[in-house]
């Protein structure tokens, strides 16, 4: 305990208390109004750096989610047109099976040859399926239709991988030369259809029957491709769920790191304000009291 308490000392002590109290209140006020515990690195440098890192993770996660959405759109457009191709090939096979029967005459076959030509046109249109002006079966040559009217492929075999997570990629396209062109073992679907059309035009029953087996193979190739697309879509779906979870957890962590505990902050604020009120009242008392001087007449 001090043995002497001069006037300046009393006043300074009271003033310092008020100054510290005011600083605390300003800080709590800023925390409550922004909802953030960390106003500057000085409040919690580690938390500050951590919040920044977590936001970087969130930015990347959002981008991966956007990549997944886009890949999903492309794959589902591909899937839809592969389903239509299956229908076309099924109809072509029906014609082939029917016309392999010698009971039909040349006139009927000529009409059906015309029907097959329609199917070829439909296949070409499906092979040229596009999304937002990009041809989905053209490989890297995505800016031009990969098939001409005769079904000749002008795309390439470029497989496009997209990032859907850190170090995780998924192929978002299948190329026409593989599942329609039969590159790497298989039949050329357009060739098979053209053969059928020509055989019908020529009224050649044997040639018509010869297209049945390759027609099966062609249908299998398209179905195979559709399954591949389906697998990739389900991989995307799985990963989307993973990303959602990562995002949720990251936001949770972020909130724990930088959000203010409102109940705590408000009760602190009330307490500090009471203390400050008392300090102010004390100072007023001290300054008002003066000294013995005022009792000397």
């Amino acid at each position: 305990m001090p043995t002497r308490v001069p006037d300046l000392m009393l006043k300074d002590t009271a003033l310092l208390g008020i100054a510290r109290g005011s600083v605390d209140i300003a800080k709590l006020n800023a925390q409550i109004s922004s909802g953030k515990r960390i106003q500057s690195p000085a409040d919690d440098a580690i938390g500050y750096a951590r919040a920044k890192d977590l936001r970087t993770v969130l930015t990347a996660t959002d981008q991966y989610a956007a990549n997944i959405d886009r890949a999903d759109e492309r794959l589902s457009v591909s899937e839809t047109s592969l389903a239509s191709m299956e229908d076309v090939l099924a109809r072509a096979k029906e014609i082939a099976l029917e016309q392999a029967n010698p009971t039909y005459d040349a006139g009927q076959r000529a009409v059906l040859a015309d029907g097959v030509q329609q199917l070829i046109d439909e296949m070409v249109a499906l092979g040229n399926t596009q999304l937002e002006g990009r041809y989905v079966f053209a490989g890297f040559q995505s800016d031009a239709p990969p098939y001409d009217a005769a079904g000749t492929y002008s795309g390439d075999s470029g497989v496009r991988n997209v990032e859907i997570g850190d170090g995780v990629q998924v192929a978002e396209n299948i190329t026409g030369d593989q599942f329609l062109g039969g590159a790497g073992g298989g039949v050329d679907v357009f060739q098979v259809l053209t053969n059928l059309r020509d055989a019908l035009t020529a009224n050649d029953v044997t040639a018509v029957s010869a297209t049945i087996d390759p027609m099966d193979t062609a249908a299998q190739q398209v179905t195979q491709a559709r399954m591949t697309v389906g697998f990739r879509m389900s991989k995307l779906e799985t990963h989307r769920n993973v990303l959602d979870e990562v995002k949720f957890q990251t936001q949770e962590l972020l909130s724990n790191t930088e959000d203010v505990d409102l109940t705590q902050a408000v009760s602190d604020l009330v307490q500090r304000r009471n203390t400050l009120d008392v300090a102010r009242a004390t100072l007023a008392q001290i300054l008002g009291t003066g000294s013995i001087m005022q009792y000397l007449a």
Binding site: V5, P6, D7, L8, K36, S40, Q63, N67, Q141, I292
Partner: protein, 538 residues
């Protein structure tokens, strides 16, 4: 009657002291005075002395803690500014970097799309802008620190001159008496104030003169003489000034390395130990990004068929001579092969006028020693070609030059591409709009540990820089808070001993008034007695 006369004089002196104490009661530097009477054996008050009530131990603690206080006040203010450069948790370089690499990933997801290409260029501009903003703000802050050091030294010089003047006024009288006591108070306050600006220590000699040393042993005030503090020219590769003391004879004494306290100490510490490393780190991040991104980008093809293009403006090599160089040689550097760069700093050190060594300053290794110097020669070091030649003269032994491909990169970084179609997303050949292989390779850069000897990615390093500054700010804030309690404690202990209590003074005033009245009564009584005796005789 003589006793009465002495009493009146003594109480007058006492009241004068009380008066002085009361009128200075609100001056925090004022030291209360007390009067002490000496009674000779024969009775009566013969003499009195006035003494300032000082606790020498507290005064010297206050003077040295004031150096910490001055340093911490400056450090706290500067750290607030420095850390705000790195943004909130939702802004700053790490955010721009994340957005930029998200745009790269977006490009890989749709390389045909003009929007994703344009977005990448937009994000690159934002990233470059953020680099330049942070680097630029740090640089202008450090040049402001230089100016502030100048004005602070000017203030210190003014104080030193005032102390010297007070030494003269106080003169040879060591004994504090009345008004002299106030001059001593003033001088003590000035020495304390000076300590708030720069490291000082002082002592009072037998003649009442205060001698002030700065930077632990270099005299600044000796008796009536005050020497001059001024900015010292930079010695190293950074353009930062130090501090020197100049005697009237013109002798300059560099004390930079001895200053650690006061405002000057704080200014230099934040500039050299916080901002310097932060600027270096940002430069390193920018340089690593430019080198790697350009290297991968140049391998790809744009929609317009372009290839081998830089995405960012290429790195440049810079050479700085040390401030202490005495020779007149010129060393310049140019980059031969950007992919061969190590991003390390190299030093060319002349061991004599005709020979030099090349050191890798970052790794602390020697590249080559004893190279013979001829003017106009070239030397290739890790993708950089050095050209050494005589300029205003030849080199001198001890001359040093810093060769860097990193320095100021965070300030100089700029996006080189303006045409979205030139962004090289494809890796196979020109004219394949759907090819995203090179975009994927660019996106991989984000996850590649390019910095700190292959331990940190670009983003990790950026967040590390911010965290380090934040930790520094936190520790300064804590030290400042602790210091304010120390100062509060010392100030109230000083006040306890030296500050004026109006209650005490009031009591003394009454006491002296009583003595005065009693002494006057004594004189009157003696006079009456004398009259009685005189009347008796008549």
């Amino acid at each position: 009657m003589d006793l009465g006369r002495q009493g009146i004089a003594a109480s007058r002196a006492g009241m004068e002291v009380v008066g002085r104490n009361i009128s200075n009661a609100s001056d925090p530097d004022y030291t209360r005075q007390e009067i002490f009477f000496e009674n000779p054996l024969q009775g009566g008050v013969r003499t009195w002395t006035v003494r300032s009530q000082v606790d020498a131990f507290i005064e010297s603690r206050l003077a040295s803690e004031n150096q910490n206080q001055g340093r911490l006040e400056v450090e706290r203010r500067l750290m607030g500014e420095v850390s705000s450069v790195f943004g909130t948790t939702e802004s700053g370089l790490s955010t721009s970097m994340a957005d930029f690499f998200a745009a790269v990933s977006g490009l890989s997801s749709s390389p045909e799309s003009n929007e994703s290409r344009a977005n990448l260029l937009y994000q690159a501009d934002a990233l470059v802008g953020e680099f330049q903003r942070e680097a630029g703000t740090l640089r202008s802050l450090s040049s402001e620190i230089g100016k502030e050091m100048g004005t602070t030294l000017e203030r210190a010089n003014q104080i030193a001159r005032d102390i010297a003047k007070l030494n003269v006024s106080i003169g040879g009288s060591a004994a504090a008496d009345g008004a002299t006591g106030q001059l001593i108070d003033q001088r003590t306050a000035l020495v304390k104030q000076l300590g708030g600006l720069i490291d000082v220590n002082s002592f009072e000699d037998g003649n009442g003169n205060v001698t002030v040393f700065v930077g632990g042993g270099v005299p600044l005030v000796e008796g009536a003489n005050a020497y001059t503090l001024e900015l010292a020219p930079a010695q190293g590769f950074d353009p930062y000034a130090g501090v020197q003391v100049t005697t009237p004879g013109g002798t300059k004494n560099d004390i930079t390395s001895r200053i650690s306290g006061g405002e000057i100490g704080g200014l230099m510490r934040i500039r050299d130990q916080v901002m310097g490393p932060a600027m270096d780190d940002l430069d390193r991040v920018a340089a690593a990004l430019v080198q790697k991104f350009n290297q991968v980008h140049a391998q790809g093809y744009g929609l317009d068929g372009s290839t081998g293009q830089d995405f960012f403006d290429p790195l440049t090599a810079s050479v700085v001579g040390a401030g202490s160089n005495t020779g007149g040689a010129d060393v310049s550097a140019a980059i031969l092969d950007p992919t061969a760069l190590t991003l390390d700093d190299y030093e060319v050190v002349f061991t004599s006028a005709g020979q030099f060594d090349v050191l890798n300053a970052t790794q602390g290794t020697t590249v080559s020693t004893g190279n013979a110097y001829t003017s106009g020669m070239t030397l290739d070091v890790d993708g950089v070609r050095l050209t050494l030649s005589d300029a205003t003269g030849g080199p001198q032994a001890g001359d040093r030059y810093l060769v860097s491909t990193v320095r100021d990169q965070s300030l100089n970084i700029a996006a080189a591409l303006t045409d979205p179609n030139a962004v090289a997303a494809a890796s196979t050949a020109a004219g394949v709009p759907g090819d995203n292989a090179n975009a994927l390779a660019l996106s991989d850069i984000d996850g590649t540990k390019l910095l700190d000897g292959g331990t940190l990615t670009l983003s990790e390093k950026v967040s590390r820089v911010g965290a380090q500054v934040g930790l520094e700010q936190q520790s300064v804030e804590q030290a400042y808070a602790a210091q304010s309690y120390i100062m509060e404690g010392l100030n109230s202990r000083r006040a306890e001993v030296s500050s004026v209590s109006l209650d005490e003074e009031a009591a003394k005033l009454i006491q002296f008034q009583n003595v005065f009245q009693a002494s006057a009564r004594l004189i009157r009584l003696s006079d009456e007695l004398l009259q009685t005796i005189i009347n008796m005789v008549q």
